[in-house]
Symmetry: C2
Subunit: 325 residues, 2 copies
DNA sequence: GTGAAAGCGCTAACAG
DNA sequence: CTGTTAGCGCTTTCAC
C-alpha cells in the first residue's frame, strides 16, 4: 500500500509538498502539483484516514447516543443530524444503548479515547453529572431541557406542549383525562407530568394514578393501554399520548377490542408522524428533524466557529387538529 | 493529555510493558503490572484509539450503507447488525445515501482510506462492478441475491416469497392481481417481478402494466396507490405489496377514500411489522433482523476466523394469515 | 520477563 | 515556493 513518502519519492518532491497538494494548499508550483497528481492517479493512492486522525487529533466523527434506532421518534432526529453532518463532511457513529447504563458510559468513553469529536445524546438513563464529567473531552449536546451549565442543549418545551394538549382537551369539554408517557423518570416526562397535573388542578379535577400510563413507546404498548382502559370500571374520556406510535396502537387495537376513538375515548397525540395523518389523529407536531439539525450545528459551531460556550435552544411545536377528539 | 510514554516513565517501566499491561498480555511481573495500573488510574489515562487504529491498520468499525435510516425495513436490519456488533466490540458507521450514487461511492471509499474494516450494503443504486472493485479493501456484504463472486451475500429468496404470495391469492380465487414494489431496477424487485409474471402466466392471466406500481416505500405511497386504484376503470381485486408501510397506507387511506380491504381489494403484504398486525394485514414475514445479524457475522468471521472466501446465504420467509384477503 | 527501537502514515512548524 | 524534521500515541519485533 502506497503512502505519502512513496508518492513524494516518485514525484521527485518532498512529503510536505505532497501533503500540500493533497490538501489543496496554495504555494505549490503548478508543474510539481501536476507531477504529484500524476503519481497519485497512477498508483491509485488514497490517504490513510487514521493517520490523519492521529496527526490532527480529530476524527470528524460525531457520536449519536440513543436507546434504539428502530423507532420513528429517534430515526427522525437521526435523519436531521445525518443531513447536516453529510453537508459538512462529518460522519456519524451510533451507540444504540437500549437505556443500558454501561452502554451509555461506553459511548461517553468514546469521547475520551478520541474516537469521536463530539456526542449528541438523544435520550439517556445515566446521571447528568456523569455526562457532565466528560465535557472536557468534547462538546456534548443533550436533546432535553437541562440547566447543567457544561452541556449544550436543544429541546422542546414539553411543559408547554403538554399544556397545549390539555387546554385543547379541556376546551373540548373533557375533564376525565389520562396520559401515556414513556420512561417516567426522564426530564421530558417530568415536565409533561407537571403540565398535566397543573392543568387538572386548574379545573379542580382529581389526579387519577390509574389513568396515568408509563413505559409507552411502541404500537404494542398502545395495544396494552387499549385493553387496560377497557377493563377499567371508571374510564377516562380522553388521553394525552406522548407518541404517535402508541396512539396508533390505541386507535387500531381499540377498534379491534371495541373501544372507539373519538367516541369512547378522545386522543391528542405527539410527533405528527405519517401514521397520525393516516389515522386522522389530532397531534402536536414536534420538530424532530430540526432538533437533529440544531444539535449537529452546535457541535459544528464549537469546532468551526469556536463557539465553545454551551448554549441552550428551545424549539416550538404546533397542534394539528384532526378527528380524534 | 497523558500518553503511554508518560505512564511508562512514572511507573518506572518501558512503554512495551505498559502496552502489555494495557492489553492484558502475559509475562509481566505482578509487581510491575500493579505499578502500571496504579499510574493509569491515578492519571485517569485512556488509550488514544486513533493511534491504535493506525498502528494496527484496523478500526473495528463496520460501515453500513442504506438509503435512509427512517424506515422500519432498514432500521430493523440495522438493529440486527447493531446487536451483533455490540456483542463483539465493533462499532457502526452509517452512510445514509438516499440512493445517491456519489454518496454510495463515498461509503465505498471509506473502505479504501481505512476508516472502516468492512461494509454492509443494505441497498444500493451503484453498479455491482463498482462495488466489486473495492473488495481488495475489505469484506463487503450485500443484502441481496448476487452471483458476483467477490461479494458476500445474505438475502431473502424474493422470487420464492413473491410466488408464495401469488399462490395464496390465486388459491383464494383472485386472478386480477397487481403489485407494489419500490425501485423497479433493484435485484430484489427484478426477482419479485419475475415471480409475479410467472404466476400470472401459469393461470393464463394477462399482465397489466397499470396494475404494477413502483416507487412504493412509505405510507404516503400507499395513499397514492389507493387513490390511483379508485380512478382505474378496471380495477385489480388483489395486490401484492412489498412493504407493510405501503400496505398500511393503502388500507388506511383506502378506508378514507372508500376503497375497502379486503372487500374491494385484497392485500398480501411483506415484512410483518407491528403495523400489519394492528391492521390485521396478511403478510409474509421477512427475517430482517436476522439478515443484519448474518451480515455482521460474515464480516466478523472474515477477520476472526479467516473466512475470507465470499459466502452466500439464503434466509427463509413465512406467510402469516390475517384478515386482508 | 523486559526494554529498545522501528514502524504505522500523515501534519505542520520552521528554516531556507 | 519547497524540503527537513519532529511529532501524533500505540504496537510489535527482536535481542537480552
Amino acid at each position: 500500500m502506497a503512502n505519502i513518502r512513496e508518492i513524494a519519492k516518485r514525484a521527485g518532491v518532498s512529503v510536505s509538498t505532497v501533503s500540500r497538494v493533497l490538501n489543496g494548499y496554495p504555494y505549490v508550483k503548478e508543474e510539481k502539483r501536476r507531477a504529484v497528481w500524476d503519481v497519485i492517479h497512477q498508483l491509485n493512492y488514497k490517504k490513510n484516514i487514521n493517520a490523519v486522525h492521529l496527526s490532527k487529533g480529530r476524527t470528524n466523527i460525531i457520536g449519536v447516543m440513543l436507546p434504539t434506532i428502530n423507532h420513528p421518534y429517534f430515526s427522525m432526529i437521526v435523519e436531521g443530524i445525518s443531513e447536516e453532518a453529510l453537508r459538512y463532511g462529518y460522519h456519524l457513529l451510533f451507540f444504540q444503548t437500549n437505556y443500558d447504563i454501561h452502554k451509555e458510559q461506553e459511548a461517553l468513553e468514546m469521547l475520551r479515547v478520541k474516537q469521536i469529536d463530539g456526542l449528541i445524546i438523544c435520550s439517556h438513563t445515566i446521571r447528568l453529572e456523569t455526562i457532565a464529567s466528560y465535557t472536557n473531552d468534547g462538546p456534548i449536546v443533550l436533546c432535553e431541557d437541562t440547566s447543567e451549565p457544561h452541556l449544550f442543549s436543544v429541546y422542546i418545551d414539553h411543559y408547554h406542549a403538554f399544556a397545549l394538549g390539555m387546554d385543547y382537551l379541556i376546551k373540548k369539554g373533557h375533564c376525565k383525562i389520562g396520559y401515556c408517557l414513556s420512561r417516567p423518570t426522564s426530564i421530558n416526562s417530568q415536565k409533561r407530568k407537571a403540565a398535566y397535573k397543573d392543568a387538572l388542578q386548574s379545573i379542580h379535577a382529581p389526579i387519577r394514578p390509574d389513568w396515568m400510563f408509563h413505559h409507552c413507546l411502541h404500537m404494542s404498548d398502545g395495544k396494552r393501554i387499549a385493553s387496560t382502559i377497557l377493563s377499567l370500571e371508571e374510564k377516562p374520556t380522553a388521553l394525552l399520548v406522548a407518541s404517535d406510535q402508541v396512539a396508533a396502537g390505541i386507535v387500531l387495537w381499540g377498534k379491534t377490542y371495541g373501544l372507539h376513538v373519538p367516541n369512547d375515548l378522545a386522543i391528542v397525540s405527539f410527533d405528527n408522524h405519517p401514521i397520525s395523518e393516516a389515522l386522522h389523529i389530532t397531534t402536536i407536531e414536534l420538530p424532530l428533524s430540526l432538533i437533529g439539525k440544531k444539535a449537529f450545528q452546535m457541535i459544528y459551531d464549537y469546532f468551526t466557529n469556536d463557539k465553545t460556550q454551551p448554549t441552550k435552544e428551545k424549539l416550538p411545536v404546533r397542534l394539528i387538529e384532526r378527528a380524534s377528539v
